[in-house]
């Protein structure tokens, strides 16, 4: 295993110390990974195996089957909610990222027209909140009930993400802007050709934050979507798995009671997108993209 060179002045760790450290690392990793492992294994087990074990499957060896996933996808409510969630996440993330990059760039230029007003409108979002009820009344009043925009628009701009982007944009050397402007580039060209290519890492992190927020959101859907046919996956997960309530059957199809394997398959479907995207983005956390921005 490659290792950081231990500096010469640092004493050799004692055997007991190393053992204690190794044990803590193992316990921490297990506490996080073991539940995911047993849920994944249960979702891949047959109904008989789950019945025989009497719950979650811990030991592999009873064979793997995709029955639960097939059953899950045959349920029209689950299938549709998956499509809805993917759609909300894709559309919402694009809107949020574009709006935030544009806004953050305009905020990265102190002294420009209206700069202070715009900056205050965003910064005050950290300390003053509209509150649940006024937002609920307002979103209902402007006719967004049962509209997917009711999920997307209230969470489209995160002040935190805008501030992170802005701080990064402001750290780009001024000379780059000056030379571009001498070459006659307008603001939009500067943003597109100079700022965005330099900011790929921070944009990736912000994109992940927005996408995760949309994918995970169920409360806006719960508040504003009266029609259960429009539910996203997170709300199905809450109703079906956490509350163990039967799913409303829009098609009138009689469904068997949810087996544990099917429930775990829904949990897995909700986790998997995060697991897929996460490795591509998480390296940027270590580079301190966010920390640098927050401190600045």
């Amino acid at each position: 295993m490659s290792s950081r060179n231990r500096p010469a002045w640092e004493e050799k760790p004692s055997a007991a110390g190393l053992a204690a450290k190794g044990a803590s690392i193992a316990v921490i990793a297990l506490l996080i990974l073991f539940p995911l492992y047993t849920i994944a294994l249960t979702s891949l087990s047959s109904g008989e195996t789950v019945n025989r074990v009497g719950g979650l499957v811990v030991w592999p060896g009873d064979g793997i089957t995709f029955n639960a996933y097939e059953q899950m996808f045959r349920n029209p409510v689950v299938l549709r909610s998956l499509v809805v969630s993917l759609g909300i996440t894709a559309v919402g993330t694009v809107i949020s990222v574009v709006v935030s990059i544009l806004g953050a760039y305009s905020l990265s230029r102190p002294g420009s027209f209206g700069h202070k007003t715009i900056l205050f409108s965003v910064l005050l979002m950290f300390v003053i909140f509209p509150g649940l009820i006024p937002v609920y009344l307002w979103v209902s009043a402007i006719g967004l009930r049962d509209n997917y925009l009711a999920i997307i628009l209230p969470m489209a701009v995160s002040a935190f993400n805008v501030v992170v982007l802005r701080a990064f944009f402001m750290s780009i050397p001024q000379e780059l802007f000056d030379s571009a402007r001498i070459d006659g580039a307008g603001e939009f060209r500067v943003l597109w050709q100079i700022v965005t290519p330099l900011s790929k890492a921070v944009i990736a992190v912000v994109t992940l934050f927005y996408a995760v927020a949309y994918w995970n959101n169920w409360f806006n859907a719960f508040l504003y979507l009266d029609d259960s046919g429009k539910w996203p996956l997170a709300l199905v997960l809450r109703t079906y798995v956490v509350e163990s309530a039967p799913l409303p059957q829009a098609s009138g199809l009689q469904d068997a009671p949810p087996t544990l394997a099917v429930k775990m398959a829904i949990v897995m479907i909700a986790i998997i997108p995060a697991l897929i995207i996460y490795p591509f983005v998480q390296k940027h956390f270590k580079k301190g993209v966010i920390i640098g921005a927050v401190k600045g």
């Binding site: 640092e10 921490i28 027209f113 509150g131 009820i133 603001e187 490795p279």
Partner: protein, 327 residues
């Protein structure tokens, strides 16, 4: 709070005499120069005003006898502080307040140190690869929703969960920590640690990485062992970040999170799980008493704002940087 207005160029120049190299251009000239920037900010401003500041003004319903169908915000009668008077004599509200403060206090002791300890552990791992693998693992649950986290905890610690399953298979009684109001505070704190302590360690890791390694070497050469180095170099090195986050948390004392409690309220009952935010939902939206719920929400918002401002002031008094500063 009123929106800050655009200051006149003259005053603006007067505000920052030290840094002004050239006098600010006339606003018309700046508008001609900066219109592309305004165009860029427009979508953000429409969303921020349309879904944040306009609803914030809607808090006026807290002072109204709000009639959703016949009156609306514009047509309902003002009743002053009536709802607040009712609120302060409502035992449910008192309980929500006490639960919230109790959970904040409990987590200050049992949650707050965990990310620091985790960061110290990760920082002390010599192997680059092992450290990076552990980081990947502990950050991961931060990206799970509360629904997922609670579903996972249910499967582990619930009445039909894995722990009970194992206990029963070995002849013991099963446990159901997911519905037990007495242990609820332990449950929510473990959930918070499981989900967020890893990601919370990032900021301490950054602070640890910023400590000058020469200090350690000098101390070691002078004969300081690893514990003395931890006490005299490491902890003072990350103290500003610890103080900052502690103050932030105190300023945020009324916020313990909404979803985590809302999702588990039906399982453990409101006695243990009612917090400010769930109270607002249940007293306002569920029953349709929007004005009353809004009053509870507004009370929380105003007290929360005062706490944040006070915490920041306190940070400055201690000579720390605080969350924001005047300049």
């Amino acid at each position: 709070m009123s929106a800050p207005t655009i200051e006149s160029p003259a005053r603006k120049a007067g505000d920052t005499p030290k840094r002004t190299v050239k006098p600010k251009a006339h606003w018309r000239e700046r508008l001609r120069r900066d219109w592309p920037l305004l165009l860029m900010a427009a979508p953000m401003m429409i969303l921020v005003w349309g879904f944040w500041w306009i609803p914030t003004l809607g808090n006026v319903v807290a002072f109204q006898d709000y009639k959703p169908f016949t009156g609306g915000i514009l047509g309902s009668r003002l009743v002053g502080f009536t709802h607040f008077q009712v609120l302060f004599s409502d035992p449910e509200f008192t309980r929500a307040m006490l639960n919230t403060l109790g959970i904040t206090a409990f987590q200050l002791v049992f949650y707050f140190p965990v990310p620091i300890a985790l960061a110290l552990l990760m920082h002390s791992i010599a192997s680059e690869r092992l450290r990076s693998m552990l980081q990947s693992v502990v950050y991961l649950p931060y990206f799970f929703s509360w629904v997922l986290v609670i579903a996972i905890f249910q499967q582990m610690l619930g009445g039909a969960g894995l722990l009970s399953q194992i206990l029963r298979a070995n002849g013991f009684d099963g446990v159901d920590w997911m519905t037990d109001p007495d242990t609820f505070i332990l449950l929510v704190t473990s959930q918070a640690i499981w989900k967020e302590a890893g990601f919370g360690a990032i900021i301490f890791l950054a602070a640890l990485a910023a400590i000058d390694p020469n200090q350690y070497e000098a101390a070691a050469v002078d004969g300081a062992g690893r514990w003395r180095r931890l006490w005299h170099i490491t902890l003072p090195g990350i103290r500003p970040v610890i103080v900052l986050l502690l103050i932030l948390r105190l300023g945020d004392a009324l916020n313990v999170g909404f979803e985590q409690f809302f999702l588990q309220r039906s399982a453990v009952g409101s006695q243990a799980s009612e917090v400010f935010d769930t109270f607002v939902y249940y007293s306002g939206i569920r029953t349709g008493d929007f004005d009353y719920g809004a009053a509870a929400g507004l009370f929380k918002g105003v007290v929360g704002l005062v706490l944040i401002l006070a915490a920041n002031k306190f940070a400055h008094m201690l000579g720390e940087r605080g969350v924001y500063s005047k300049s």
